[in-house]
Amino acid sequence: MKHFLRLEWQTLKEKNVLLKAVGYLLFYGVALFMIAGKQLRGLTFFPIVATISSLSSFTILFEDGKQMPMRRLLPSLPFSRRDIYRGRTLLKLMIWGSGVGLALLLSGLMHPVMDTWPTAATILIGSGISLFGLSLEHWSIQLPATAGIALRGGLLGGLLGLMIGTGGAIFNSLSRIDPQGFYFGLGAIVLAGLSLWLNQIVYLRRAL
């Protein structure tokens, strides 16, 4: 697993996508503020930033056109399928964690001007949604290249559109039903875990 993570890290460096991902995030962030600045307050700022930062990062970092390395190159190298799956998942979880941290940091920085600091419930719910988004995006490793690209794009656009359009209303309703955000956050984490586990079972047994 350690060797595989080293390979993945080196791959990201060789592909020269780390800076590109940061640039993409900045561009996305500015565009988002221009389009939906008014909606990005209180309830929705943290969940949206946490979601787009991880999903858009995956799009830049793991997009390999038609090469499908998870199904072709990597399984032919001396790594077990288990290591490949778990290594890639762990890397995505680390990026997701960084995205959540970034979202929290930005929420704090923007709070004086935009009232963006999230409540504990919003943090739990926002983290749950973005983690569930990650677990769905991770199914792209099973799909043909173009279908994987479509899944990523659809998820990113869909989740963003949903949260920008009706995010405030959704989070308001959720915080009335589950004021602490505990059940919703926990539910999303359990569902995400279940999805990642099923994904692993399929990846370990399937024809690549």
């Binding site: 060789e14 390395p69 001396p78 690549l208």
Partner: protein, 282 residues
């Protein structure tokens, strides 16, 4: 080195196997068969990319279930088309492969890169032949004991093909390394292969050495009426004359009014696939 026993794999319109095959050390084995015969399916199964429904695969006396990483470290594998990150240059890709293979041999890699003149530009910008050559070079650069090559020479010009085949010969010279490569370019196999495994409709028709094939497979030609009772693996009738593939001891054909020539692999493939067909003379 490689032992396959009773491997089977099913798809809705195709069934592979049961396949039994043994690849000894120090030999080049050619896997031959028409398009869709099951060559790539068998190779992917050997690489554990396709889990078989039944049967056993042992490499270096080990099984994937217990020693997946140790096995793959000793295999140099080449896909039919480019599987590398095509935005990377060859040297960037080599840095990744060096991390993956503890036995990476940089001196050999550099020698081959120079020999074949692979340019340092993104892999997507290399020609199809250069991409194939690059994959071949990387497979030869980590001291693998077994090279498994899926159609490695298709798309290469004849000069590069000849050089690659020479490299294969050099590679097996020490006697403890082997090559398994699939192709439908049978002339390549005739140049370098010691053993031939012939697959037809998902089944291994024979897996034997080249000498055995030369001895036991012949093209026979003669008048149709004189050859009607001769048992052939495939025959082509052109009005009054017949030619076909004969399998067996040719001393049994003494006394027949026919001409006999050694069969090439292409002849064998052709007649096996074709079976019995009549053809009107144009």
């Amino acid at each position: 080195m490689l032992q396959i026993r009773g491997i089977e794999k099913s798809y809705p319109k195709f069934h592979l196997g049961p396949v039994d095959m043994t690849q000894p050390e120090g030999y080049i084995m050619g896997l031959v068969g028409e398009n869709g015969a099951g060559k790539s399916t068998l190779i992917y199964t050997i690489m554990d990319l396709l889990p078989p429904e039944s049967g056993v695969i042992e490499l270096f006396g080990r099984s994937y279930r217990r020693d997946e990483i140790a096995i793959k470290q000793q295999i140099g594998f080449v896909y039919e088309d480019n599987c590398f990150y095509d935005n990377l240059t060859p040297s960037a890709m080599a840095r990744l492969l060096r991390l993956s293979y503890p036995n990476w041999d940089d001196a050999n890699y550099q020698r081959l890169m120079k020999q074949f003149g692979i340019q340092e530009k993104p892999l997507r910008k290399l020609s199809k032949g250069q991409k194939a050559t690059y994959a071949f070079i990387t497979a030869l650069s980590h001291r693998a004991r077994l090279l498994i090559l899926d159609e490695p020479t298709s798309g290469l010009d004849p000069i590069v093909r000849r050089e690659l085949l020479d490299e294969l010969r050099r590679y097996v010279e020490p006697g403890d390394r082997s090559v398994l490569f699939s192709t439908h370019i049978t002339s390549d196999l005739e140049q370098v292969a010691d053993l031939i495994t012939f697959i037809h409709h998902g089944r291994v028709l024979f897996s034997t050495d080249v000498e055995d094939i030369r001895e036991h497979y012949h093209i026979v030609k003669g008048r149709a009426d004189g050859m009607a009772s001769l048992e052939l693996l495939g025959r082509q009738t052109k009005q009054t004359h017949v030619q076909g593939l004969y399998q067996g001891d040719i001393s049994r054909l003494d006394g027949w009014d026919i001409s006999i020539e050694p069969a090439t692999l292409e002849d064998i493939m052709y007649f096996m696939k074709r079976g019995d067909q009549d053809e009107a003379l144009s």
